[in-house]
């Protein structure tokens, strides 16, 4: 159990996230095929591979997060490339030191979410990855606001739970963005692949905090 967010934590969390996404590879592709073009597993695996490779290069936490953003955008394309890239760019500008306490970690994630907002107008209920991202970061904010002494584990456990429940709720939503939007009502019933994989990533970060 660690109580600080560091570059080492980032690397071990990304390793866990990559392993988890690889394990759910076919499931993610199948979820995406229901409303999109069936390649989300492929895309998110490539994203995390690029993220991990960049994270393992030397540099401060802020530089590392910026390299992760560029690494993701260089290695991947499609609609998630610049969204994920902007998230890590936002994390980078929010990383005020190489060892962040829980409150500063939450601030960093708020900065990541804000940067994503400049790339997408998607809100909760639009059936996108933001259905997991927004509640996850909000849960982090709420956790630290309710208890200034909340641990890093509390913060990431809350985020992982909120991301998971946010992803599950996408089953009931009609897609408003991306290719799935064109299906209208027919997009209801299937869980959004991007929200699903993001929930796996938050779970991996929570596990990495617990195991560090």
């Amino acid at each position: 159990m660690t109580n600080v967010f560091t570059k080492e934590l980032l690397v071990s969390a990304l390793k866990g996230a990559l392993a988890s996404v690889t394990e759910h590879f076919d499931e993610l592709n199948a979820l995406d095929a229901a409303t999109g073009d069936g390649d989300h597993g492929t895309a998110i695996e490539a994203t995390l591979k690029a993220a991990l490779e960049s994270a393992e290069q030397p540099g401060s936490l802020a530089d590392t997060l910026s390299n992760v953003a560029m690494g993701i955008m260089s290695a991947t394309g499609g609609s998630t490339s610049s969204l994920n890239g902007s998230f890590y760019m936002g994390l980078s500008s929010g990383a005020t030191s190489d060892s962040l306490d829980p409150a500063s970690t939450v601030k960093m994630y708020e900065s990541g979410l804000a940067m994503m907002g400049s790339m997408t107008n998607a809100k909760v209920g639009d059936k996108t990855m933001m259905d997991a991202m927004i509640p996850a970061v909000e849960a982090m904010t709420t956790t630290i606001a309710a208890n200034v002494d909340a641990s890093l584990a509390d913060v990431f456990n809350a985020a992982a739970a909120a991301a998971q429940s946010g992803a599950e709720k996408t089953k009931d939503y009609v897609a408003k963005f991306g290719r799935a939007r064109n299906l209208g009502d027919r997009s209801r019933g299937s869980q959004d692949a991007g929200a699903t994989s993001l929930a796996l990533v938050f779970k991996a970060f929570a596990d990495a905090v617990a195991n560090a």
């Binding site: 095929a33 409303t35 073009d37 390649d39 260089s74 394309g77 490339s81 969204l83 991306g178 064109n182």
Partner: protein, 334 residues
Amino acid sequence: MVMKKFMNDPQRVTNELLEGYALCYPDRVKLVSEKIVVRATPKSKDKVAIVTLGGAGHEPALSGFVGEGMLDASVVGDIFAAPGAPKIVEALRLFKDNAGIILVVLNHEGDQRNASMALMMAEKEGIKVSKIVTAEDIAPGADAPRSERRGLGGCIPLIKVIGAAAEKGMSVDEILAVGERFNERMATLAVTLKVATHPQAGQEIGALADDQMEIGMGQHGEGGGNGPELMQSADWVAETMIKKLLYAIKAKAGEKLCLIINGSGATTLMEMFIVFRKAYAVAKEAGLEIVASKCDELLTVQEAAGFQMFVGIFDDETLALYNAPSDAPYWVNR
């Protein structure tokens, strides 16, 4: 059904198809930095460069239209996926000393977002880029806002028009003005009989029963809102589609029309001609003068069966630009 395609490593399809393409037309195009297709002989720097971006798997679009009188570069993503922003910036840098750069972006989530990020990054480097967005799919309704319409094959005739304008030495503002004039008066509608298989995931994209078709399906098999309906005759489909299209562009008797039937991959030229025949008749009856036409595969979706019907209204200037010479591997005008 098991996917049957001539491929090697699924993760290398984009690289290998681009390598093959560049080897096939070495007098006109070359491949730089793995995913950027440029002209074999660049145009002079005192002219505006026209650049576009988009996923692979739609051949010959969009790289097939790199060449004199059309594109200067095409930045290619993976199958059906826009290229990442850094790759787009790399392509824009090649033209930083030109009289200007215009980036043609099809209205799809990924294309738009990566283009926006690339424009932000280019601006930081002091590279000024203008953007022209195509969003001419009328499946969401003739009066749907542009933000809700997809960019389909209409980008290609548009590229023909603005590419010729750039070749003539027109300024960025002049090219944008002429481009937007054509953009405003063009529309596309797609119909699908059989969906495509994603060459990397191996899964079918979307679903259609044997006796069904779907008017309005996008170029990746995504639905068009109305849903599948029972298969109909060529005449019925052609008449239904051309009427919607002419209504959408507010075509008036006496105007000059461009009519293109673009095959999706598995639809034969035989079928395209049969469809064209009826669409032509309906347009002529509506008093339009069909001054430019094509039945061809310009933008495909793997082995999807179906076609996109494109219409555009010309004025004298856009018609002259459309008819100007070009020498791209998949669009040669003499």
